[in-house]
């Protein structure tokens, strides 16, 4: 039972939801529906009012006529009875019968009932008289209510009441009046008038009204639909063109017809689209030029640099054969060439990113593997300064869609930066993931960063302490490039620091193109105890690099 009711709810939910979606998405549907509702309510109210007024008018007039007719008939009958000399019951009976038949002769749609008044104790007894308006039909006594009978007293006025002719639903008016029949005592005369004609007239009027109302509502609906469609169609066209534009079809335009408001909308819209197109084309041209320039510079610089590089290395290898000052010069040449080269590479990379020319090749890869690979590569450099590198990986799948060389470079950069500032303290590296995000935190316990320094740490060529020598041979562009690389992945690279307590860098990458999740897999600022609590230590195979 429970299951079936749930099934019914489920069955109903889908169409309701579809209807709701159509309702919220279609202005046309909303306007037409509200017009229909308002129109129906208005027409129904108006119809009810008009019908009531007509009915009241018809009935009031008819009742007036009925009352005067019945009053004159009663008065005539009473006068005839009093003028006659009949005394015997038979004579009286005949007199009354003759008189009632004569007044019935001229009347249409009327029935008569003669009843003995309740207080009449006369020994002379008249047969009660009754005739239906149509001549046949059931006894009319039943339409005479007790309340009407009670209000009629001898020599009193006539009373009337609405009723229904028994066995039908035809409305009727019942008029009652007292009649004194000489020695036979008090009687009551009732007229039952049928309102069949009035009912028929009213029915006809109602039918005509309903037909008129239906036609009117239909007409209004049609007009609303047409008018709304006229207003909605250009809006729909504009929406369609706008979405085409957004999809990159920059030459898409709206059709301009006439010179009304819609035409103005279309013209303005098209102007906007043209302006957008111009801007975008210009930006694309600029970007293309920049890319071309970077590529040319790259090629033109690298060719002579290749010769210089090789020549310098050949000299460097034979430096011991030269006299000391020449040998030292060869050494300086070689080391500074290294620096020049990495600077050139970084500059080219950053201008490529600036030009929007960076191309990423995504593949699913384990972030922990990338981190381990880069860590192992840096173990010798860290060991030279007595720094221990510790890797912590939390249980779970740390796979994300990434450009592996770029992510490797980010990690290498933040690790080199940490080694440079660690002051001989160990460096903790943690990898963890949430449902949508993978993250790596690199934490050192060295000189640290002040909040002002944190704000600038990703600036190009910025260094925390200009007096400090660069031990890791950084170019001053590494962290800037890293942040750009992270953003190319729709990820984030953030820094935290505290003077004297060290610094922390966190890279977060989305698992797929869905963007970063709300839950952060790792906090940005971590204590050295946190690592062991969060993840398990992974041993680094150092000899693979030492070989």
């Amino acid at each position: 039972m429970k299951l079936t009711s749930r099934a019914i709810v489920m069955m109903l939910r889908a169409p309701v939801r579809t209807l709701w979606r159509r309702w919220t998405r279609s202005m046309l549907l909303r306007v037409v529906t509200s017009t229909l509702v308002v129109g129906l309510v208005a027409v129904a109210g108006l119809g009810a009012y008009v019908t009531t007024q007509i009915r009241d008018g018809l009935v009031d007039k008819r009742v007036e006529g009925i009352l005067s007719e019945s009053a004159s008939d009663v008065a005539g009958t009473q006068a005839t009875i009093e003028a006659s000399t009949a005394e015997t019951p038979g004579d009286l009976q005949r007199l009354v019968n003759d008189q009632l038949e004569s007044i019935q002769l001229g009347a249409v749609g009327r029935g008569l009932v003669l009843l003995q008044a309740p207080g009449n104790t006369s020994p002379v007894f008249l047969t009660p008289f009754g005739s239906a308006p149509s001549g046949s039909g059931p006894a009319l006594d039943t339409v005479i209510s007790r309340s009407l009978r009670e209000s009629i007293v001898p020599d009193g006025p006539q009373f009337w009441q609405f009723s229904v002719i028994p066995g039908t639903d035809i409305p009727a008016v019942v008029v009652g009046a007292p009649l004194s029949v000489r020695s036979a005592g008090d009687y009551e005369l009732y007229f039952v008038y049928s309102l069949e004609n009035e009912q028929a007239t009213l029915d006809l009027i109602q039918r005509v009204l309903a037909l008129g109302a239906g036609v009117l509502v239909g007409l209004v609906l049609f007009m609303t639909w047409t008018v709304t469609l006229q207003a909605v169609r250009p809006v729909r066209a504009a929406a369609r063109v706008a979405s085409r534009l957004a999809d990159g079809h920059l030459s898409e335009r709206m059709r301009v017809r006439g010179n009304d408001e819609m035409a103005t909308l279309a013209t303005t819209f098209n102007d906007m689209a043209s302006s957008l197109q111009r801007q975008i084309t210009r930006m694309e041209d600029l970007s293309r030029l920049q890319r071309r320039f970077v590529s040319d510079v790259s090629h033109e610089l690298r060719t002579p640099l290749t010769t210089i590089r090789m020549a310098s290395d050949v000299l460097h290898e034979h430096r011991r054969e030269f006299e000391p000052s020449v040998g030292r010069s060869a050494e300086l040449l070689a080391t500074q060439l290294d620096r020049f080269e990495s600077l050139l590479a970084d500059l080219l990379e950053i201008s490529r990113i600036d030009a929007g020319a960076a191309q990423l090749e995504f593949e699913d890869h384990d972030l922990a593997e990338v981190v381990r690979y880069q860590l192992e590569g840096l173990v010798p450099a860290a060991a030279e300064q007595g720094i221990e590198l510790r890797l912590w990986v939390r249980e779970g799948v740390n796979t994300a869609s990434m450009d592996v060389p770029r992510v490797g470079r980010i990690i290498r950069n933040i690790l080199s930066n940490a080694i440079e500032h660690a002051q001989g303290q160990p460096i903790d590296v943690a990898v963890a993931s949430s449902s949508r995000t993978v993250a790596v935190v690199v934490r050192d316990y060295g000189v640290g960063l002040s909040p002002a320094q944190v704000a600038r740490v990703f600036d190009r060529f910025w260094r925390a302490d200009p007096a400090r020598a660069r031990t890791m041979g950084g170019t001053g562009l590494g962290l800037s490039i890293s942040r750009e690389d992270a953003q190319l992945h729709d990820g984030a690279l953030e820094a935290w620091g505290s003077p004297g307590k060290g610094a922390s860098f966190r890279l977060m990458l989305p698992r797929s193109s869905g963007g970063l999740g709300v839950r952060e897999p790792l906090p940005l600022a971590m204590h050295s105890d946190d690592f062991a609590a969060l993840a398990t230590r992974v041993n680094l195979s150092v000899e693979a690099v030492d070989r």
Binding site: S295, S298, R302, T306, M310, V314, D366, E369, V404, R547
Partner: protein, 227 residues
Amino acid sequence: MVAKILVVDDDPAVAEMIGIVLRADGFDPVFCDHGDRALGIFRAEQPDVILLDLMLPGKSGIDICREIRAESGVPIIMLTAKSDTVDVVLGLESGADDYIPKPFKPRELIARVRARLRRNDNGAPGVVRIGELEIDVTGHRVARDGEVIQLTPLEFDVLVTLARHPGQVFTREVLLEDVWGYRHAADTRLVNVHIQRLRAKIERDPENPEIVLTVRGVGYKAGGYTP
């Protein structure tokens, strides 16, 4: 035997410098400074390794690479001044075995050349079967149903490395070390492109490989089944 190296580069300074470095290590360099003459010199000299610049007057390095590959499996190392992804991938796809981005150190160049010259002797010789393929390691021959498939020495090395341990997953880094001779920090696209080329030759349907399988997020392995 002195290995002969064909250096195709239009910059005279670079070519001369490469010549000095190669001679110092006991190689025999021959030179070509124009794209249109490269194929003729290759045919005349029959070098053991080709160092090929991509940007050349006349025929481009990519085209030369493709033409040489059409008639020979000789190791080709590209010299690229541009490290743009597209150029590197295009060069590798046209048949180059390896690439060195300019500027490079002499030591690096020599290491690359030596790695290409060293025949990869994957342990014991003999015949290895994988899927429908019969690999004659000693004779450097691969056949399917008795029909010989032409592989370059590098492609052959990749296949043998994988086929000797069916089912074992090789990461791209391990393959780079085993086949290309890199120690660390190299471009894994090398592996991707060569696996594609290898599949195009040995798989019945390269879109649904049955011999060289991808292990997502890790690397590659040889399919272990024998039909």
